[in-house]
Symmetry: C2
Subunit: 153 residues, 2 copies
């Protein structure tokens, strides 16, 4: 039993170590956790089609930089851009930050995102990319100020 | 003559005002100017094919996020990625920051870039896009730490 326990610990450490090594969080733990929570929350809002909440993840002057468009800024424009047609469901969305660094009321964060959408005809589309986000702390809440991404392959 | 002078001033102000309005530099003037200079220098190195200098615009652990590749990191890999084939000339390259904000030893900067390349067969290709850069001050010099961009249209 003891042997089995050590084996489990070993596998856990082996499995977890590349992840631990790859992630670099610089800042007070509470602040980092707050940003990590917001990253998760963003994906959840997207999966739930809560576009109003999604747009409120950004500062009032928050900007997104989707490929092949101009910079898009502000609540209404962001909400419109993120809103998917009724016949599309986001089955899955996840962002994996490789580094978060907080400097005073500002933070940057970069990493990978991935997801899967399902269309009314049953087709699914998987996507993967990388991103850079600049966060601002507004009235004690971390909000996205700049959000840019592109494809992984 | 006096009338002509006022006309010139008026045209100058009319012409310059949208640019002044659109650009937002937050930080000590010397530091902002240093970043602005580095942005220009980067374009110049690219136009001159000075890939060694170009790669040294980044921190040692600097990262670029080109579309359809993984994140590329470090001097050698950056130099390799930026180096164009011998039969391509960069006729023109310019980045126009809309905002630069310095927070301690870190800064972010976003805006537009544009350029034109010429191939040995005489064909030219113009390109335009938008970018976000995270800068770090290393031994009194502002270096690019994160550099991500995508197309405008």
């Amino acid at each position: 039993m003891k042997k089995y326990f050590y084996l489990c610990v070993m596998f856990f450490l082996l499995g977890a170590s590349p992840l631990l090594k790859a992630q670099n969080y610089i800042g007070e733990t509470d602040e980092i956790n707050s940003i990590l929570e917001n990253i998760k929350q963003f994906s959840q809002y997207y999966m739930d089609g809560e576009y109003d909440q999604l747009a409120r993840c950004y500062t009032e002057d928050g900007k997104i930089f989707p490929d092949k468009t101009d910079i898009i800024e502000g609540y209404e424009a962001l909400k419109k851009r993120w809103t998917l047609p009724d016949n599309v469901d986001v089955l899955y969305h996840k962002a994996t930050p490789l580094e978060i660094r907080i400097v005073e009321d500002t933070a940057y964060d970069y990493g990978y995102y991935e997801g899967k959408t399902k269309w009314a005809n049953g087709n699914t589309v998987a996507f993967k990319g990388k991103y850079v986000i600049v966060w601002k702390k507004i009235e004690d809440e971390w909000k996205i100020y700049l959000d840019i991404w592109n494809k992984l392959e």
